[in-house]
């Protein structure tokens, strides 16, 4: 999948995005036809001999072209567009519910079980089953953000004190990129995410794996990484289920090694980027809440990064 297919309104992969893409093409087509007709008439009005263009000045033409035509065409297009996009606000039944909270500048993602209790907490990556309608409950922890994954659905704002709901369905397997579409502070442009659409069985496996606590370190170096993570105080802001780290200010890192990206869709996820982010979070995303932790030795930094990468 090329990058533009990953994030494009015109590469629709679900009913909501389909409706928006159709709306765009029909509006573009209608506007193009009208524009060409107007250009033709203007050219005719300028270039034609006076006796042949005189009819253009009659009040009947002015009323027909200036009032009747726009009212009819615009009303038709408006009615059609409301009908074509009715699915965007429809409420499918028995949908999977996922809560997404916009924060400066990342996304907290919580899967809710049938009783509405959190079953899995993750960040910056939303997995959904292909072909199954999903309800996204959108809120914000601070300022207004806007949730936008163009290949799957339209934009919807995340508004303080308000809960918005988005319904989307991914019709084909893939990784779709989304980003914040409402200016939300200095690092707004560095607030992206991925939606990963998996076959339903693979999705269930993913959900089960994510609900587990972090795996035990496989060797001494990883064990050292875990100890350093805890002794450096990372657990004040981050949760790693299965350890003493239970902070809730930053993203849950229980399975951070399994994610497509780091730092809200802006970095590849490997030991190098993990180490770099820990050491220079303020240089990479200025103003975010994580300090640059260049307080441990190079070897210790590697140990922490290696342990985090092992959390799959």
């Amino acid at each position: 999948m090329s990058p533009h297919q990953q994030q494009s309104t015109l590469a629709a992969q679900g009913p909501a995005a389909d409706a928006i893409a159709t709306l765009w093409w029909v509006m573009l087509g209608a506007s193009a036809v009208i524009l060409l007709a107007v250009i033709g008439l203007i050219t005719f009005a300028i270039a034609a001999p006076p006796e042949r263009r005189r009819w253009l000045a009659s009040s009947r033409i002015v009323i027909a072209g200036g009032i009747v035509f726009p009212v009819v065409i615009l009303s038709t297009l408006l009615s059609w567009s409301l009908w074509a996009t009715r699915g965007l606000v429809a409420r499918p039944s028995a949908a999977l519910r996922i809560e997404v909270v916009g924060e400066q500048w990342w996304w907290r993602v919580t899967y809710l079980d049938d009783t509405g209790r959190p079953s899995v907490v993750t960040a910056n990556e939303i997995h959904v089953p292909v072909g199954v309608p999903v309800t996204l409950v959108l809120t914000t922890a601070d300022v207004i953000h806007s949730f936008w994954v163009p290949s799957l659905a339209g934009k919807l704002d995340m508004i303080p004190g308000h809960e918005n709901r988005m319904y989307l369905r991914a019709d084909s397997r893939g990784v779709y990129r989304g980003q914040c579409a409402e200016y939300c502070g200095g690092a707004h442009a560095l607030m992206a995410f991925y939606v990963v659409a998996l076959p339903p069985e693979a999705f269930e496996d993913w959900l089960t794996a994510q609900a587990r606590p972090a795996p035990e370190p496989a060797d001494d170096f990883l064990r050292r990484g875990r100890e350093l993570f805890l002794s450096t105080g990372c657990g004040a802001c981050h949760t790693v289920r299965g350890t003493a780290a239970t902070g809730v200010i930053g993203p849950d890192l229980t399975h951070v090694g399994s994610r497509t990206s780091l730092a809200a869709g802006i970095l590849a996820n490997n030991q190098g980027t993990l180490a770099g982010w820990i050491a220079a979070a303020q240089h990479i995303k200025p103003g975010n809440r994580m300090p640059s932790f260049n307080v441990v030795s190079g070897e210790e930094l590697r140990a922490i990064a290696a342990w985090l990468e092992s959390l799959r």
């Binding site: 590849a268 490997n270 190098g272 180490a275 220079a280 240089h283 990479i284 070897e299 930094l301």
Partner: protein, 116 residues
């Protein structure tokens, strides 16, 4: 003049090794790998979009750098090992090992040697 040229050619040949910075790798493939792994999180790297990292040294002019990590001679073989197994060569380094194949390490090295 001709004699000087011959003498220099002989002197170069006598070294018995190709010039230090030549590699057979594919620099463009190396550039893609560097972008994909986001090496720019830690290093400033000319020619890589967004590579303005300040965690490790800038790689600007790397082809003419004498030592890798201030301790290892900057030779193609050494560099290929370095990008894959830095901690084994300098235990205190903050640079982690990367899972490059031989070919990929060669390509990455080839790109780094285009930085003059």
């Amino acid at each position: 003049m001709a004699r000087l040229a011959v003498t220099m050619a002989l002197a170069l040949a006598a070294c018995g090794q190709p010039p230090a910075q030549a590699t057979d790798g594919d620099a463009q493939a190396g550039r893609s790998l560097i972008a994909r792994f986001d090496c720019g999180v830690c290093h400033t790297i000319p020619g890589i979009a967004g590579a303005r990292g300040k965690v490790g040294p800038s790689l600007d002019g790397f082809a003419e750098r004498a030592y890798i990590a201030g301790s290892l001679p900057n030779r193609p073989r050494v560099l290929m090992d370095w990008v894959r197994r830095a901690p084994e060569m300098a235990p205190n380094t903050a640079m982690p090992p990367f899972p490059f194949t031989d070919r990929e390490a060669l390509d990455v090295a080839a790109y780094l040697y285009t930085l003059r």
